[in-house]
């Protein structure tokens, strides 16, 4: 008697998705446009997919596309490890595996008729871009919209053309700053937190969404709180190693939080104590 059973399409199986377009963003960062496995992949801003490269491995990557255009799956990726480097070598027509979307979302509902303050550092703009798309296509849901973005150098700025276009709009404020003002840079130089104190949002009603390296989020959240934004309305995206994406493998724990299942997005009021403990 064969007792082997077909267990059905499991959450653990990557589904093939074909690359339709590759956009080089910076020296180490690129954007992949993919045909979603079922023709479309509905997601909420802030959610991520597990991307699989044949024989190399799998990594969690946030979706950087427009939630109102789920027929194109867009991921912006920084090449830092074996899998992301393999992804960088791919060209249109190549196929990657996709599992997802997983994780919770930036609380765009919370932003209803509030000032929206998006604070991004480096690659952290990618998971926040769906929030910006959402805010622009549901513009009346928000009061003022701010995008405050910091990078290492001017050549690390992502989505430059889009930022320029957003900057030209009258219904949103976009401010950029870099840590290293190299030759030819005529924008702001300094950490991203300096943009917070200069932005004239209404702190008592603002909702802030912060994404970047942990230390950057820590300081940005603190600056926002010092400027009067309630800790419950400052959101950060936490990061730990993610393997399964669905709460089964345990790797992504940060203190008592299981990030892939309950996060990765948390209000600062909850994240603050997680930030405070070393090696949690």
């Amino acid at each position: 008697m064969s007792a082997a059973v077909d267990i059905g399409l499991a959450p653990m199986l990557p589904r093939p998705a074909r690359i339709t377009r590759v956009v080089k963003e910076t020296a180490d960062t690129f954007t992949l446009h993919l045909e979603p496995p079922d023709g479309k992949l509905a997601f909420m801003p802030g959610q991520f997919n597990m991307l699989y490269v044949f024989g190399v491995g799998e990594v969690p990557i946030s979706i950087s596309g427009d939630p109102d255009a789920p027929e194109v799956l867009v991921h912006t990726i920084r090449a830092v490890g074996a899998v992301t480097k393999a992804l960088m070598a791919m060209v249109p027509g190549d196929v990657v595996g996709v599992r997802g979307p997983y994780g919770n979302a930036w609380p765009v509902g919370e932003g209803m008729r509030r000032d929206l303050v998006v604070v991004a550092g480096g690659i952290g703009l990618a998971p926040l871009r769906p929030v910006i798309y959402h805010a622009l296509s549901h513009r009346a849901d928000f009061d003022r919209v701010y995008v405050l973005y910091g990078t290492r150098t001017p050549s690390d700025i992502l989505f430059e053309e889009e930022l320029r276009a957003w900057r030209a709009r009258f219904d949103m404020e976009v401010e950029l700053t870099v840590d290293r003002g190299l030759a030819g840079w005529s924008g702001r130089t300094g950490v991203v937190t300096t943009l917070i104190e200069r932005a004239d949002f209404a702190p008592e009603s603002a909702v802030a969404m912060v994404c970047g390296p942990e230390v950057m989020m820590r300081f940005a959240a603190r600056e926002l709180a010092q400027n009067g934004v309630e800790e419950e309305r400052i959101f950060v995206s936490l990061e730990r190693k993610m393997k399964c994406g669905v709460g089964l493998c345990g790797n992504c724990q940060l203190g008592p939080e299981l990030l892939c299942r309950d996060g990765p997005i948390y209000p600062y009021s909850r994240a603050r104590r997680l930030f405070a403990v070393r090696e949690l």
């Binding site: 180490d28 920084r78 830092v80 490890g81 550092g121 480096g122 690659i123 910091g150 990078t151 290492r152 690390d156 700053t177 840590d179 290293r180 003002g181 190299l182 030759a183 030819g184 840079w185 005529s186 924008g187 702001r188 130089t189 300094g190 950490v191 937190t193 300096t194 104190e197 200069r198 970047g212 390296p213 230390v215 950057m216 300081f219």
Partner: protein, 156 residues
């Protein structure tokens, strides 16, 4: 009358809210309004440092000419920042270029006049130096973060 209204304008500046009205009146004796357009230099490295600036509006880049990489922007300052503490200490020389990126409106406080008042009234001096030190403290924190290089890719 002129001094009086300038003192009131100074009192609006977030940096100076901790100074008493008497001290603001005293300070306003050295102050004047300055406008400067984008692209112009407020001062250049090596020149005599004769003024302390309180930025009311605008963006100013603090730049260093660093051949062969040309000019680097070390930091930008703007509304609410204090610029030019070189006037307080010998040799009263600017150590950096200040180039205006966005039209700026500033209070300029004459260096010689200020130094004289600081010596003449140590109570005023103490309170003004607290303002300067508090600002330097904030700027240092910013710079500390900036030099952490938090976005650097870790090689694996």
């Amino acid at each position: 009358m002129e001094t009086h209204s300038l003192a009131r304008a100074l009192a609006q500046n977030t940096l100076l809210t901790k100074l008493s009205m008497d001290h603001l009146e005293f300070l306003s004796g050295c102050a004047k309004n300055v406008r400067i357009s984008a692209g112009e230099y407020l001062f250049r490295e090596g020149e005599d440092a004769n003024e302390l600036f309180l930025i009311r509006r605008g963006v100013i880049a603090l730049e260093v000419y660093a051949p062969p990489r040309s000019t680097m922007s070390a930091e930008t300052v703007g509304s609410g920042d204090l610029l030019g503490w070189s006037v307080l200490f010998p040799p009263h020389t600017w150590s950096i270029d200040a180039r205006v990126l966005e039209d700026a409106l500033l209070f300029s406080i004459d260096g010689a006049c200020l130094r004289k008042k600081l010596e003449a009234d140590h109570d005023f001096g103490y309170h003004l130096m607290r303002v300067v030190l508090e600002h330097v403290h904030r700027r240092l924190e910013r710079l500390r973060l900036q030099q952490l290089d938090v976005y650097r890719t870790e090689s694996i």
